[in-house]
């Protein structure tokens, strides 16, 4: 507990004066809340720091440096709420970049509204995040959804599946296999709608517990249905289903969302079992989605020894967008920041960010499609992530290990 708190304001004023005289204004702080021991989460503070360093090297924002304050939430909603309060009340940050877990972001959303603290998530996907803003815009407007909502992710997978699986390999049937979590509810919902539209019949729909360690019974059940493909929706799990899929030579390809597969360490973590796994993402190493993608990936890899996860790209872009918004708002007033963020038109590492307004049910999510952000399908091939879709940026053809069988 604090003692001598009455001295603090005086001391702070003194330090502030000295600081002002000697240097520039105090830094603008951005809080970053994520679990740093998980594969997807670790990239979030690192990428944000990288962006802040670059901005500071060029003189900062409004003559002030950007300072990243990182908090580890251990993927717990309680810890995240506590970190959020600390960020807002103690560390006086101006913006929070928060988590890639929908459950955590949903728990933080009301706090962002209550404390008028602008927040953006670089990786959570649940549609609920933006729907909550839509339902109560005036209260919730401080929240921005800096990643694709699950529904759009599912659509992107379906678009890729149409070209690669249906037209390319005559695939007609699928089993949807998703983990039981907030982000997969709308994902599965949309899978079940869009797969039939592209001519794939869904034979079974499996929602598995994120605590599952033995996937043999699940693969067994899937195989019994004899589908042509497994459409995945996994993020909390990743290594174990992939390793067991390969060890058991499950002859059905896995195609869909597999968040952990987006990092380069996934090959090593699975001892190469991920060979042939195809996953949806928004940017991938070596793929020049925009002119900023490759410089970022190279710089990140040089500095941290591994490529960023999907949330690394967005977290990096978020810092730049926040910096631009602060510039446009002329300061860190939360309401002005929100207005400035809403006017964002920024080309980042994954495409051009333009946020949907309050008239869209997907309020404060970014626009998806040609000219904005588009999805990619990437596949692990011999230790490398190879982009296989869409054709204009593809680096190679889709190919599977020999135990996988496709209709043609």
């Amino acid at each position: 507990m604090k003692t001598g708190h009455w001295m603090l304001p005086a001391a702070a004023a003194f330090v502030g004066l000295a600081f002002n005289a000697a240097n520039a204004a105090p830094p603008i702080k951005i809080g970053v809340i994520a679990e740093s021991s998980s594969v997807s989460g670790a990239s979030i503070p690192k990428a944000a720091q990288l962006a802040a360093d670059e901005i500071n090297a060029k003189g900062g924002v409004l003559g002030r440096k950007i300072e990243i304050v990182a908090y580890d939430d251990h993927n717990s909603a309680t810890d995240a709420v506590r970190a959020f309060q600390r960020a807002a009340r103690e560390d006086k940050v101006s913006f929070v970049i928060a988590s890639y877990i929908s459950e955590v972001v949903l728990a933080l959303e009301p706090w962002s509204a209550r404390l008028h603290m602008p927040m953006i998530t670089p990786g959570a996907a649940s549609d609920e995040i933006s729907h909550n803003i839509y339902k109560n815009y005036n209260h919730m407007k401080y929240v921005f959804h800096g990643y694709l909502p699950s529904t759009f992710i599912a659509d992107s997978v379906c678009d890729g599946a149409k070209d690669l699986l249906v037209d390319g390999h005559g695939v007609k049937t699928a089993v949807v296999m998703s983990e039981d979590a907030a982000w997969t509810l709308p994902l599965d919902n949309e899978y079940l709608k869009c797969l039939p539209k592209i001519g794939i019949k869904v034979l079974d729909h499996i929602r598995l517990s994120p605590d599952t360690t033995d996937f043999t019974p699940i693969f067994n059940r899937i195989e019994a249905k004899k589908p042509d493909v497994i459409i995945t929706g996994i993020s909390h799990v990743g290594v174990q289903p992939t390793v067991q899929w390969a060890a058991q030579h499950v002859p059905i390809p896995m195609f869909g969302v597999s968040s952990q597969a987006t990092t380069s360490t996934f090959w090593k973590d699975t001892n190469g079992a991920t060979d042939g796994v195809a996953f949806q993402t928004v940017a991938s190493p070596g793929v020049p989605v925009t002119p900023k993608t490759n410089p970022f990936t190279n710089e990140y890899t040089k500095k941290f020894g591994a490529t960023p996860s999907y949330a690394g790209y967005t977290s990096y872009d978020d810092v730049y967008m926040i910096a631009d918004a602060i510039k446009a708002a002329g300061g860190t007033n939360p309401d002005k920041l929100v207005t400035a963020m809403e006017k964002t038109n920024y080309v980042g590492t994954i495409g051009r960010y333009v946020f949907n307004g309050k008239e869209s049910p997907f309020t404060h999510t970014f626009k998806v499609g040609k000219g904005y952000v588009t999805g990619l399908m990437v596949q692990w091939q011999n230790g490398k992530q190879v982009t296989i879709w869409p054709p204009d940026v593809a680096q190679g053809k889709m190919t599977f290990p020999s135990f996988v069988k496709l209709p043609k």
Partner: protein, 291 residues
């Protein structure tokens, strides 16, 4: 077909459970300790094996050996740094030593688990399989590694049996489990017996950890679950009874497999938990325990 699949799959997983649980029950039998850092020791073995086999290029076997060695080291450290000081403490009342050992090993387990998560992230790691490929076992496509796992688990348990029944040290160990005081009277040093049992325990937990790592993959997050499952098996079999643990491991392994295959993989542990409650209420000494 499905029945055969359950039979094969359940056997592999049960053998793994048995290897881990036998060490756990042995420690309880000899020194009355429920080691709640058990899961962390298994995870250590798996992660070290993964690291040595992959990053240092030692291959599957080299990695496995170093992983088991790591488990033995952590096991001895657990005894030397946590369990022994509490047992020898003068400030802790006798009837409270049990709760102190429980809390102490629990805290130590968390430390090991957090250290692993810090250095290697909590992402699951897979140990290189000892044997690659799949074989067709009566129509069931089975990874060759799965068969190797069951075989190694049984070899480890067989060696333990030989040790206990055919060597002087092993016999002393069993005697210690039955009556520690009588053994001291016979001139045996209890201290070295403890070192021996914690070493054996380390080997068994290490083997179980490495095998689990190559079978399903292991994350530092699994530590608590692994401890709870060994605890359950040991109580189900009867605390301190090696044969009981062996039987209970197969009951648990098969009950889980049957639930996962025939009902729903998401509730695979529920029937085991219910069975455990029933057994504890009706027959607290466990399936094969002695009172």
């Amino acid at each position: 077909m499905k029945a055969l699949q359950i039979l094969i799959d359940g056997f592999a997983i049960s053998s793994l459970y048995a290897t881990g649980a036998i060490g756990f029950t042995l420690i309880f039998g000899v020194s009355g300790v429920l080691n709640l850092s058990h899961g962390s020791i298994m995870v250590t073995a798996a992660v070290v094996a993964w690291l040595v086999a992959g990053s240092f290029g030692a291959g599957a076997y080299g990695g496995a050996l170093v992983g088991i060695a790591a488990a033995v080291i952590v096991s001895l450290v657990t005894y030397g740094l946590v369990v022994r000081p509490i047992q020898h403490s003068r400030t802790i009342a006798r009837e409270e030593k049990e709760i102190f050992v429980l809390t102490g090993t629990l805290l130590w387990g968390i430390m090991v688990q957090e250290a692993i998560a810090y250095i290697f992230t909590n992402n699951p790691k897979t140990v290189l399989p000892l044997i690659g490929g799949v074989v067709n076992l009566l129509g069931v496509r089975t990874p060759a590694n799965e068969i190797a796992i069951a075989a190694i688990a049984w070899i480890a348990m067989g060696l333990l049996w030989l040790l206990v029944n055919r060597t002087r040290g092993g016999k002393a160990l069993m005697a210690a489990a039955i009556n520690p005081r009588g053994l001291t009277l016979c001139g045996f040093e209890l201290g070295s017996i403890h070192l021996l049992v914690w070493t054996i325990y380390g080997v068994l937990a290490g083997v179980a950890g490495v095998l689990l790592g190559s079978f399903l993959g292991v994350s530092s997050d699994n530590a608590g679950q692994l401890t709870a499952s060994a605890f359950s098996i040991v109580v189900l079999g009867g605390l301190g009874s090696v044969t009981g643990s062996l039987v209970a491991a197969y009951v648990v392994g098969y009950l889980e497999s049957i639930t996962a295959y025939l009902v729903n993989p998401s509730i695979r542990t529920v029937p085991v938990l219910v069975l455990l409650v029933i057994v504890v209420y009706l027959r607290p000494q466990g399936l094969l325990g002695r009172r």
